[in-house]
Point group: D3
């Protein structure tokens, strides 16, 4: 991925490490899938969300994943990304129960269908991870 | 509010305590504002979100407020409730910085306008609370 | 509004009658407010939603207003139009109670904030109408 | 499902009856699918939407299903639940035509794609039901 | 499709020509798919979006497709229609690069998941078109 | 704003120039309003949307503003940002008519309320700008 480097190498490197630590292989798969359609978007995805946001102090990674799982469940338009971030939640130390509670709570703020659809995504991720 | 009691007194009582602890006066104001339009909805609001959800074990209240602040910022359709829950976040021990980080992160998942509008709601709440 | 007439006079006339019967003065105010920004949009608003949709057989006007009140409450992005259609619901024979129940039910499908915001819009309309 | 019973048996029993009457087997399938991921959410789904909301007087079941079909079509994020509620609409006496009209009307409030996607869900349900 | 004709033949004819020019076969497929569920909706789809809107002067077709691709990407609830309009963008002269840039920009306004999902729809359309 | 500089000065400088050229004073007001709540978010807002996205080749600024106006109108949750970008559209050479057409077209994709609310925002901006 050296072709993606730019003068702002530190953000890219920080982002790449954060992406690997948080999303694991799933993050790399998204980056790879972008190669022939929008390679610059892969770079921006690494630099801004991961290089700029997830590496900020002030909020621990577990809370950051609670926030992301909650938001993606509530929006209801991002099942593939919710899947990645439920796995990311496990990666950074959230328990299965904490993830399920976060999703259930969204019934209050975005309705039961949003929570149901989120729970079924979680069911799939937990099965694949054997947790 | 004795007129709201029903056979299921324990959920209502648990919910009322949770609402007071989490939302403080702001929660009671919402309940009061519903009295002449939909008093039963005030009871349901106390029983389901607060009696059933926020009192569940498995996710601490700080994480529950991170989830709610994230979701309401991302949805962008619930400024009055976001205001209540930013105050609730402070009530249950989130720092000003943790709340700001949660909202900023939503730029990644729901766009910059959602995060900006959330930050300006937070600014108003922090000013009112003197934090 | 003769300047808005077009070859398709029957849709426009049917729509204008439907708009007046359903939305009353509030509909006319919207049409007037569009005059200096997008007069053609006023014509399209009369022709498509009112001339083409609300005048169709197969669903009575009361049910049409239940559908509209439900959808606008759930979307949460259209308070001015929800206000017009809560008044329209009263115009076509829905009771205050039926409107409140429709909005409350949206807590299940779009979350409590959506329902709360809808109820407060209804409260305002009922106060203005003295019902 | 005796393991789901709680002190508030009447809400659960009322909800279970309402769920069976309205959603039929489809409702039970959702409850079953939740068993190994979030069994408590199955109980909450029965108690709040069905025990608390659908059993309320003040709005007939046909109108409640018009409201739900309208809202889920407009939101556009809940195809599985829209499917269940189009079938539920038929169960409580809505005609095929009334359901189609409700969905078509959403073009006005949520755009043509929302209405189109809703109509294609309805087409699938009607085919399965042979109506 | 003569059964769809109505007194307002000019709008229908104008719309049919615009639909064919912009959406090509994909538009006709949608119209055909509506035949047994909601044939009138096929007529309305031709008359309002295509007969009334896309044929208006004041904004060129390339800009109209930029607007539609942007909006459908941002909403995130209309993948089938986004697919049709990415192809339509190519039909009216947008380059592959202009379409990719439009979708990427939506990361700013609707978040990275919306942009990612839009890019993957574009990837599929470009592959099918061999561009 | 020297306190906002970081090692990645070129993105920040490029972004600041783009922000000034596109959004004019309105952009600076947003940056200033963030100073006491989230100064880093002001920097990120300049660097990512303006430094990284708007300065990319491959789509002209007029088309970028058509895309943004369309998306913000369709989402319906970002009136303050829509206001800024309708003014930005005028700044980069869109005519009043092109902006109105872009917003009207959103009735097709996000419904009439979204288009109406967008038109009323435009009316306000045009009045303030005297166009």
């Amino acid at each position: 991925m050296t072709q993606m480097s730019n003068p702002d190498d530190s953000r890219f490197e920080k982002g790449r490490e954060a992406l690997a630590r948080i999303d694991g292989e799933a993050g790399q798969k998204v980056v790879d899938a972008l190669k022939d359609i929008a390679p610059d978007f892969a770079r921006l995805l690494i630099e801004f969300p991961f290089g700029d946001i997830y590496t900020r102090p002030g909020l621990d990674l577990r809370s950051r994943e609670v926030a992301t799982i909650a938001a993606l469940t509530a929006l209801g338009t991002a099942a593939p990304q919710l899947k990645v971030h439920i796995a990311a939640g496990l990666n950074v130390g959230l328990s299965r129960e904490e993830i399920v509670e976060t999703i259930m709570q969204m019934a209050v703020y975005a309705g039961f269908p949003a929570a149901l659809n989120g729970l079924f995504v979680a069911k799939e991720v937990f099965a694949a991870r054997g947790v």
